[in-house]
Amino acid sequence: MDYETVVGLEVHSELKTKSKIFCGCSTSFGADQNTNVCPVCLGLPGVLPVINEKVVEFAIKAGLALNCEILPFSKFDRKNYYYPDLPKNFQTSQFDLPIAVNGYLDIEVNGETKRIGITRVHMEEDAGKLVHSGSIATSDSSLVDYNRTGVPLIEIVSEPDLRSPEEAKAYLEKMKAILQYIDVSDCKMEEGSLRCDANVSLRPRGSEKLGTKTEIKNLNSFKMVQRGLEYEVERHTEVLEEGGKIVQETRSWDEANGMTVSLRSKEQAHDYRYLPEPDLVPIVVDPAKVEELRRNLPELPDARKARLMADYGLSAYDAEVITASRAMADYFDETVNCKADAKTAANWVMGEVSKHINAAGIEIEACPVSPTKLAELINLIDKGTISNKIAKTVFEEMWTTGKNAATIVKEKGMVQISDASEITGIIDKVIADNPQSVADFKAGKEKAIGFLVGQIMKQTKGRANPEMVNSLLRERL
C-alpha cells in the first residue's frame, strides 16, 4: 500500500536571557557545576518564583515571528513528575493558556513553498542535568548539576503538517534561522539550546484519519532528526505491510546503532496532573506592548531572502544559503555595504569564508577576516589587481595574519601582470622553449595549449592575467 508520512515536531529552545526564568541566577553555559544556583532554582522549602519579564518578551517575539496570535491572558501551570534533575518534582510550564497560539512558518521543499502550522508556543523552565562517570548504564551513581535548572525555554509545537523527514529538517532549519534572527536563542543543538522531539505516524495515502503515532526523543542534531524519522517511517511501513499494528509509545534514537528503541508505552506514560501554578499570577499582556514588539521585529529570513534576490540579483539558492543564518546574512550585507560587488561577495561568503569557518569550527561572527577586509579583497579582484586564484592565496594570508589584502599583495608582490608587452615577452620565451607542444597544438591537439598556459603561469608565479595569457598566446600561435 502507498503510505503517507505525517510528522509533527516539538521544538525546545533555550532563551538567551541573562538570568533564569524565576530567579536572578546566571544562565551562562559551561560554568562549574552547581555554581549558577540559589534557593529558588534549587527548589528549597519556602521559596517562590518570580517571572523574568524578559522571558515573556522573548516568547512574545517568537510568537510574533511565527505568525501567532498572542493571548492577552495566559498563565503558568505545574507539570508534576518525579525525576532527580527536577528539584521540585514539578516543572513550571504552561498548559491550557500558552502565551502564543495558531501560527505558521513557510518552508521550501523542492522549490515550492509549504506552510506548516504552529499549534502553540509556551514558556517553561529547563531541568538540571544528570552527570555519570562513564555511561548511565555502567555508572554506579548519578550526580546532579542544577546550573541548567530554571533556564528559560520556549516549546514550539507544530501541527502534524510535515510529510517527510526532509520537510522536518527544512522546518527545523527555518525555525532555527527565525529564532536566531529575532535574537531570542542561540539555537546551538550541541549545547542543548535547541532540542527536538518528533511525532510520526503513517496513513494510507488519501486517508484523512491519522494513524497511530510514535514519539522519538533524544534527537540531538538536524541530521539525527532526519535519520530518526527515516528509520521510524521504514519501521512503521514494515509493521503495517506485515499486517501488524503500531504501538503508541515513546522511542529513543540510538545514534550509535542507527535505530530507535522503545522507551515507554502509552500505558507507562506520565500522568502530569497539571494544576494552575498558585505561586505566580496570570500573565496579562498589554496589546500596546505586543504592537511595539511587532514593529521592532527585525527583517525575517523570508523577507531578507526576497530582498537579496530583488536588490542584488542573487539566485534563489544563493539567497537561501546566505539567509539561513542571520549572522551570515549580516556578514554578507556588511560586505556589500562596503562597496563590494554583491554576486562576488555571495560567492566568497558561501565559498572561502564558509569553508574556513567550518574548518576552524568557529561562528562567522568570529571570522578573522572582517566584512570590510573581504570587501577590499573583492575590490582588488574587480579592479584586476589580482586574479581570483591569487585572491584565494591572499585570503589565506589574511585569515592567518589579519593583515589587509592590499598590504599582502604589496608585500608579496602578488599584483597581477596585465601589461601586454610583458606577457608577450614571457609567451615568446615559452613558445621558444617548448617546440613540441607548439607543434602538437598546431596539429590540432587543443590540450597542448593548456600545458603552455601552465608554463606561462609558472614563470609568473600565477600573477599573469589569465584571460590576457589565453588570448595573447592564441594570437602568437
Partner: protein, 488 residues
Amino acid sequence: MELFRYTAHQLHSKLKNKEVSAVELTQAVLDRTDAVESSVKAYITQTRDTALAQAKAVDNKINNGEDITVLSGIPGVLKDNICTKGVKTTCASQILAKFVPPYDATVVEKLASQDTVIIGKANMDEFAMGGSTENSGFHPTHNPWDVNVVPGGSSGGSAAAVAAGEAVWALGSDTGGSIRQPAAYCGLVGLKPTYGRVSRYGLVAFASSLDQIGPITRDVTDCAHVMNVISGYDAKDSTSINSAAPDYTKSLTRDIKGLKIGLPREYFVAGMDADVEKAIYKAIDQLVALGAEYQEVSMPHTEYGLSAYYIIAPAEASSNLARYDGVSFGHRTEGTDIVDMYKKTRSEAFGAEVKRRIMLGTYALSSGYYDAYYLKALKVRSLVKQDFDKAFDKVDVLITPTTPTPAFKIGEKSNDPLAMYLQDICTIPVNLAGVPAISIPCGFSGKLPIGLQIIGKPLGEETLIRTAYAFEQSNDYHNRLAPLGEVK
C-alpha cells in the same frame, strides 16, 4: 505580675523606662520556659544564645539613648514552617528534621530589622496539616489552660507558647484556620491577614493559594504592632499585594458607631457547643451596645466550603510536597534504585495525615478525575467568594464563632479525621475567599476559652482591628491568664 505575663506594648514601656533590661526580659521568658516546657512542649527548637545576644544588642541601643521600636527586645516565637537562616526549620516533619535553610523568610528579615528577639521555633501539625498539633512528627503540644486538651493547630506550638508565657508574641500560618483556631483554643488574639498582605517568601508551602502568615498575641494592640512589622509588598512573592500597608495601631480607637455587623446564619451548624453559641450572641449584643448595627445575612455556599477546601488544599500540597524526595536535602532512606529511594524516603519520613492529604490531592488531580474534583472545587471556591462579596455589600464585618466547640481532649479525634476537619468549618471559607479574619477571646466554656471570629473585606484589617479592640476593651477576657498552677 511576672514579666513573662505582660503584653509586648506594656513591656516596650518597661524597656524604654529602663524598669527592666531586654536581657532580663529574655532571661525571664527563658526561665519560664524551663519551668513549664516539659508540660506544654510548645517548642521544636530553642535559640537561647542568639536570643540573649539579640537582647544584649537592644540593651546597648537603649543605653546609648537610641530609639527602639515597639517589638525591639521583645521575645517572640516563629512557627517552624517559617525559614530561618542557620536555624533548623522542620515543619514538624521527620523529613526535614535536620533541614537548616540557607536563607531567611521575608517576615524574619522584617522582624530582624526591628531588633526583635526570637527565642525559638514552635511545634505544629506536620506541614501545617491538622488542627490539634497532635500530627507533629516530634511530639504533641498541650494547652496551657488544661494540659489534657489540645492547643489547636496547626499553629498550636505558637499559641501554647504565648498562652503559657514561653513567648510574648508569635507568628503562625493559616491555611484553613491554623492561626485563628489555636488562638481561640488558647484564649489569644490571632489574625489571618488578607491573602497577599504578608509575604509568603520563606513560608514552607502547604497550599500556596490559601497560606498566609499572621500574628498570635495576647491582645489586639500587640496584634496591630506585629502586623505593622510583617505586612507589605514583597517583590519576592508574586502574589503579594502591591500597596503600602497602613499603620494598624491607628485603628485602636474603640469607635465602632454605625459599624454594620452581619451574622451568617449558615455558620451556626448542628453540633455547635451551647456555651459557644451563647458567647457569640452575647458578643453581638455587646457590639450593638457599642454602636454597631446588626443584621443576619445568608451565605448559602458555606456548607460546600469544607469539601472544596479538602480538594484544593491537598491538590496543591501533593505538588508542593513532591520536592521532599531525598535527593538534595532533607531525610533520605537509601533504596535499591531511585524509585525505591523515593518510596522508602517518603513512606518512612512523612506522617499519616500528610500521606493522607498527598494521596487525596494526587487523586483529585489525576487524569479523568480533574474535572470532577479539582475543577469543581475551584468553581465552588468562586461561589464561596461570591457569598462574601454579596455579604460585604450589606455589612462591614461578619461575626461568627471561630470554632464550633472549645478545645477537645488530646487523642479524642485522632482516629476520626472528619471530626477533626469539622473544627475548621467556620474558618475555612475565609481562606477560600482570601479575606482577612481575626479571632479574639469572647468567654469561657468551663475553664476553656471561646473564640469570636470577625471577618473583614479584602484589605479590611483596619476595620477588624478597630472592631476587635472595641470589643476587647469592653471585656477582660484578654487579661485572664492561663492557670499557671496547673501547668506542670
